[in-house]
């Protein structure tokens, strides 16, 4: 039967998107080509929309395809492309297996006011300049956060366990990976949301998609006028209810032989179970029911707007300092009397190169954490409140954990929403994302009167140079003009709890001065005898 094939295709397409998308977040070998990554994510609605607003180019037109597909065939995105949707299907599917009594879905009342209000509040937030709520509920970004925080670490632990086994046989094909991206806020949020979605999908199927998900709501509205849609033939229907038992969206009211098209996610499950073959996928003219206004709904919307405005009041950029991590790394514990006293006074936290400015970054980053997953140095970390309440979980450069590789442009290549724009390797070396600041009184050379220079050692541009100081030692001297703000100095600085050298972020990225150098190797006294 033709519908069976259609359903099969739907299942395979959705699994392919799911596996590929999941893999992007699990790959810890950093070996995926960025073309593959951008192809997999091309159709992700929210990132694509944001990128399009940003760039207006074909490379960001994925959401337009989704709109067209939805206009033609309904919410195919929700059933096939959305990884969070497929995750819910997998959860319901697994829970169904191994049960004696077959679990069934039931028709759910629309409760449309919930999803329209959620969408409205999100829109109000966006219009007032914050995409925080979109970030929290966008299904792709949520899936990204869940994958990175909850699925990636166990995969790496398994790898590290295998490394140990391989090593005992002197095999070094696998290697250990250290997970540096633990962020309590992002982990707790991911856990809560996964738990919530887990529970919803166990109880009610795709309820998240039809109450909370902003993409689901938008596509639901569009699908109301879709050309092809699933419909129940009143003449064929015997009110047996089988279709409604398999409808994970809970949108089939078999008693009245109706199907709520705005909640239908085009999974085609119902079509293949109907014993009368009474459910078909046909071209139908739209027949919208009469609309009437409800004063209760109006009042609710009004209140929601007020609430949203109130929350926005809190969302100011918070100036932040890195919390000293005194006890987290026992081996680096300072000797008594050696602890540094002057805190690093960061006016701005650092955003990735290619993100133009903190404002640009905050306006477009959906906190999907893909950049965190592809950053080989793991310098990109989900932020806590470093970018303010409305920038929570948007990744920042954490120079206490790592630093930005001078030659690396991975994050700029993969960012699906245009928060981090693509830059060439050559251009990246000129982007100044922050400036180096030296705190002399924290420096080992001053406090201990011994040699150090770890900062200058790691500096790729030599904006940190060692110059003569007391007792024949050398002390750092900084040149902020040629500094790119990579944070290698801050990372390498051995002082605790506060660093003696740090990078203060540029709220608007600048261009670093480049010192031109000759590219010839000088020959040095090749004929001369050894001086010993």
């Amino acid at each position: 039967m033709k519908w069976k094939l259609l359903k099969k295709i739907r299942v395979w397409v959705s699994l392919s998107f799911f596996v590929c998308t999941l893999f992007l977040f699990l790959d810890f070998t950093f070996s995926l080509a960025f073309q593959f990554i951008s192809t997999v994510l091309y159709l992700q609605f929210v990132p694509s929309l944001l990128k399009f607003i940003n760039l207006i180019s074909f490379s960001a037109a994925g959401f337009i395809f989704i709109v067209i597909i939805t206009l033609l065939f309904g919410r195919v995105y929700c059933s096939s492309v959305c990884p969070l949707g497929t995750l819910q299907d997998i959860i319901s599917n697994i829970s169904k297996r191994g049960r004696r009594k077959k679990r069934i879905f039931k028709y759910l009342k629309p409760h449309s006011w919930i999803r329209y209000s959620v969408l409205l509040i999100i829109l109000v937030f966006i219009l007032s300049g914050s995409i925080l709520l979109l970030n929290l509920f966008d299904p792709y970004s949520l899936f990204g956060k869940i994958s990175l925080n909850l699925f990636r670490p166990p995969v790496i632990w398994i790898n590290n366990f295998l490394v140990g086994i391989f090593e005992s046989f002197d095999q070094y094909i696998l290697y250990r990976i250290e997970v540096k991206h633990y962020n309590p806020l992002s982990i707790i949020f991911s856990l809560l949301m996964l738990g919530f979605i887990f529970w919803l999908s166990l109880k009610k199927g795709r309820l998240y998609c039809n109450t909370v998900c902003p993409v689901g709501t938008v596509l639901g509205i569009i699908s109301k006028i879709s050309l092809y849609r699933i419909s129940i033939s009143e003449t064929a229907c015997t009110q047996c209810g089988v279709c409604s038992y398999v409808c994970k969206a809970g949108c089939i009211d078999y008693e009245n032989a109706t199907l709520d098209v705005s909640r239908c996610i085009s999974c085609y499950n119902c079509m293949i179970v109907c014993p009368e073959n009474g459910i078909t996928y046909n071209r139908i003219g739209s027949n919208k029911p009469e609309k009437k206004t409800d004063p209760v709904k109006r009042q609710f919307l009004y209140n929601s707007l007020l609430l949203a405005a109130g929350i926005l009041g809190f969302s100011k950029l918070v100036s932040g300092q890195d919390k000293p991590k005194l006890d987290s790394i026992p081996i680096y514990k300072p000797k008594p009397g050696l602890a540094t006293t002057i805190p690093e006074d960061k006016k701005f936290h650092v955003t990735a190169p290619g993100s133009l400015s903190i404002d640009h970054f905050k306006a477009y980053c959906t906190a999907c954490h893909l950049c965190v997953a592809v950053c080989p140095n793991q310098v990109l970390q989900p932020s806590f409140l470093e970018f303010g309440f409305d920038g929570m979980m948007q990744p920042r450069m954490d120079y206490h954990t790592a630093y930005c590789n001078y030659d690396c442009i991975s994050c700029t290549e993969v960012c699906p929403s245009g928060a981090i724009l693509l830059v060439t390797e050559e251009d990246k070396k000129k982007i100044q994302i922050g400036k180096v600041v030296f705190i002399k009184d924290n420096c080992i050379v001053v406090t201990e009167n011994t040699a150090c220079g770890a900062c200058s050692e790691h500096c790729p541009t030599k904006s940190v140079q060692m110059v003569p100081y007391e007792k024949g030692h050398h002390i750092p001297e900084v040149d902020t003009e040629i500094c790119v703000g990579c944070g290698a100095c801050e990372f390498a600085c051995p002082t605790l709890p506060y660093k003696a050298i740090f990078v203060d972020g540029n709220d608007i990225h600048l261009t670093a001065k480049v010192i031109e150098a000759s590219d010839e190797i000088r020959e040095v006294d090749l004929e001369e005898e050894f001086p010993f």
Partner: protein, 306 residues
Amino acid sequence: MKRREFIKRSITSGVVAGSALTFMPYRNLFGAYNNPADPYDLVAIKGGEPHLMFDTAIESLGGMRKFVKSGQRVVVKPNIGWDAPPERAANTNPRLVGRIVEHCFNAGAKEVLVFDNTCNDWNKCYSNSGIEKAVKDAGGKMVPGNTEGYYHKVAVTQGKSLKDSKVHELILESDVFINVPVLKHHSATDLSISMKNLMGIIWDRRYWHRNDLHQCIADFTTWSKPDLNIIDAYRVMQKNGPRGVSVDDVGLYKAQIISTDIVAADTSATKLFGSDPADVDYLKSADQMGVGKMDLKSLNIKKIML
């Protein structure tokens, strides 16, 4: 300390102590020591390609068979600290490393393993330095050193500032340790040569930086004595080290120094670089602690100009 390591170290220290007792008094009698019948303490060679210079130099020391016995497991530790191509001379010359691996196999080594605790992303360092390819082509194996899990604590009993350090398991489990630094300028320690290169076999470098870096480097050489130090001075980073900014920092020296005495090797390389060894604190400390000799006149040195 693993058993294999313990046995190896006991034997080595026994041999060193014994030979010191036997030879030391006579050496002093002669003053400047230069008896061609005795084996060389140090070989310095100049004017050739890195791998060819090594062929000649190791021959003067009696060939690789003197250091590597049949069936032994050898660890070669070049400097692979930075994500930079060979021309920048931030890392040891790949052709030299490849040839050393070949010599080890020719001498009968069962396995030759190469690693470094890199400063930049280790995967990029291994590949962009050219060392990964050179080692694999020669039949050796690259081993990761990127996470703390590979490092195990050892006591540095003779250390003044450094009492213990976490050392890569390869160093603890191999029969032969060949140290292959590149000679270069270093912003923190003036120069990076053989002794400084040992910071790539340990994990907690920040502790060293906090606790008198020069003394820690010297202290560690009382524990870690490479069986052979091969200093690559083919291309030499003269400024902006240890990472360097461009090839503008590099000078072509076409030289190489080989010695079993890590202090003597670094002293001669310091002179080759054009600096005064007396200005390098870790050399002086190591000399005073009896790790090796800064007094090159007391050594039997072979100099070769190709």
